[in-house]
């Protein structure tokens, strides 16, 4: 554990300052939008969401760079000489990248709430609801939204872990081939193949594990009705079959085991 903690700390030290700087930029962007929200009105939601669109691209780029940079900086000579399992290297890198993306997501969520939601909620009024019922409804809606986030986070982590594993293994596998050029293209081809394998594998395992109970992934709450006398509170839950999710989890674990084996036993310097 001491060795894993050392690797984690190294990754945090290496990428923490950049991540904090980016988070600062996002906060500054939110402050600008907050100050111009009256003037830019309709533009605010797309402008708020805009940086969020870059987060997945940033994740993919960082995942690709996480090993490549160790090789180009020749640090692989240090890391591969360490008496640790290969997955220590992979997992420490993934966890820190996950923290980084989590930080951006949290800043985004905070910005969206403060710029686009908070004021609207404060001035919320309904011709059908008394103030006290209205306030209770707002609280319940926010709680439902929070629960949805809690339900979605593990699924998001799983998808990111799978994407990271695919990038990681395809990069490592491309290094095993005796190529003098075209390694990047080969790496992309392996990436496509692994992506296909994970997709189809999750589908197949989903069919095989169809007996598993369904799992909730999102919740919603709203009011329907035409008059104050006939209002209905609608509480809805989105569920999915657990089979493909569990299948993806198993495949991702297998991918990390394969990556660990390649890193420890096959990759050469």
């Amino acid at each position: 554990m001491r060795a894993f903690a050392a690797l984690l700390r190294k990754e945090l030290r290496q990428h923490g300052p950049t991540a904090l700087a980016f988070a600062g930029v996002l906060i500054a962007w939110a402050i600008v939008l907050y100050n111009f929200k009256e003037r830019w009105d309709d533009l605010i939601p797309p402008l708020l969401i805009l940086p969020m669109g870059f987060t997945p691209l940033w994740f993919l780029w960082r995942a690709y760079q996480s090993l490549r940079a160790e090789w180009s900086g020749r640090h692989a000579h240090l890391l591969l000489a360490l008496p640790v399992p290969g997955w220590y290297l992979t997992l420490s890198k993934f966890l820190v990248l996950l923290l980084e993306v989590g930080l951006y997501a949290a800043v985004h969520a905070g910005a969206i709430y403060l710029v686009a939601v908070h004021d609207d909620l404060r001035h919320f009024s309904s011709p059908y609801l008394s103030d006290s019922v209205g306030n209770a409804f707002i609280r319940a809606t926010l709680w439902t939204a929070f629960r949805t986030v809690l339900l979605l986070v593990p699924h998001g982590i799983l998808i990111l872990a799978a994407a990271y594993g695919i990038i990681h293994v395809s990069w490592l596998a491309s290094r095993l081939l005796p190529l003098s050029r075209g390694r990047r293209i080969v790496s992309v081809l392996i990436l496509a193949g692994l992506g296909w394998m994970m997709w189809r594998g999750a589908w197949l395992l989903g069919l095989a594990l169809s007996w598993l109970p369904r799992i909730p992934v999102a919740q919603g709450m709203w009011i329907e009705g035409r008059s104050a006398d006939a209002l209905w509170l609608i509480h809805s839950t989105v569920t999915v079959a657990a089979g493909p999710v569990v299948g993806l989890l198993l495949l991702t674990a297998a991918l990390y085991a394969a990556g660990s084996w390649l890193l420890e036993r096959e990759v050469e310097l």
């Binding site: 020749r74 000579h77 240090l78 591969l80 000489a81 399992p85 420890e264 050469e268």
Partner: protein
């Protein structure tokens, strides 16, 4: 300072699979490094062609040869950074891997340190992985080599970075120390300082040191044994004193003769 303090630490780092059941006598009698008919190819190049030798515990071996003779490949194979295409490499009787890495100190030819770390952070990072780390030896080496702890690695000169890499390799009570060109690119006054440091840190009789170098004049006094490679083959393997005695001249002169 108790140099044997690193031995239980090493066993702990190796976990349950460490060969602790064997008697210490058997462990010390076991060859530290064995190459049996090892071949290594790169695309278009035969880096090693049937290399065989055995190194016992407690010797300093000079690995000599021209550029491209296969010295770095041989060291990387022993460090577990490469795998042979044919033949067998064994470190303490084990195939190079995680277990042997806990017992081998490897100084690569390239500058592999993180520029953003300070000297102290680099030492702190590396020492956490090895149960055989010797803080006292680290302190002595730092003093001997005059390294500034608080300076960033990126701000150090090439020579100072080479010294730091040497501290990382020599601060351990590793069974096998692999130094790949530790004097490469170092100015002559610093070379003698580094050679002195190697001599001061090395524990005769306990550790096996394999040192590849072009700077034979500065280092040949260290060698107990000499292994000369030429185009992937061992062309000379012998006891350093006997070779000097037979030829009646320095290893450097002998090397020039052997390699033409």
């Amino acid at each position: 300072m108790t140099e044997t303090a690193g031995v239980p630490g090493t066993a702990a780092a190796l976990g349950d699979r460490a060969p602790v059941r064997e008697a210490p006598v058997a462990e010390s009698a076991k060859p530290v490094l064995e190459f049996h008919d090892v071949h290594k190819h790169y695309p278009g190049v035969d880096a090693l062609r049937g290399v065989s030798f055995t190194l016992p515990r407690g010797v300093v071996v000079g690995l000599l040869g021209a550029n491209g003779s296969g010295k770095s490949t041989l060291i990387k194979l022993a460090a577990g950074m490469l795998r042979p295409n044919r033949g067998r490499v064994r470190v303490l009787g084990l195939e190079p891997g995680r277990r042997t890495k806990a017992r081998v100190a490897y100084l690569p030819e390239v500058d592999h340190l993180y520029a953003w770390m300070t000297v102290a952070e680099t030492l702190d990072f590396v020492r956490r992985f090895y149960g055989d780390w010797q803080p006292e030896r680290e302190r002595l080496l730092m003093e001997e080599l005059g390294l500034p702890e608080r300076q960033r690695v990126g701000a150090l000169s090439k020579g100072m970075r080479a010294r730091l890499r040497l501290v990382l390799a020599l601060s351990r009570a590793a069974d096998l120390i692999l130094l790949d060109e530790p004097l490469s690119g170092i100015d002559p006054p610093s070379r003698s300082r580094i050679t002195r440091a190697i001599l001061a840190a090395y524990r005769a009789g306990e550790q096996t040191l394999l040192l590849s170098t072009h700077e034979v004049l500065e280092t040949e006094s260290l060698f107990d044994r000499v292994l000369v490679l030429d185009r992937g083959r061992v062309v000379l393997d012998g006891d350093a004193d006997s070779l000097r005695g037979q030829a009646g001249r320095s290893i450097q002169a002998l090397l020039e003769e052997v390699l033409g």
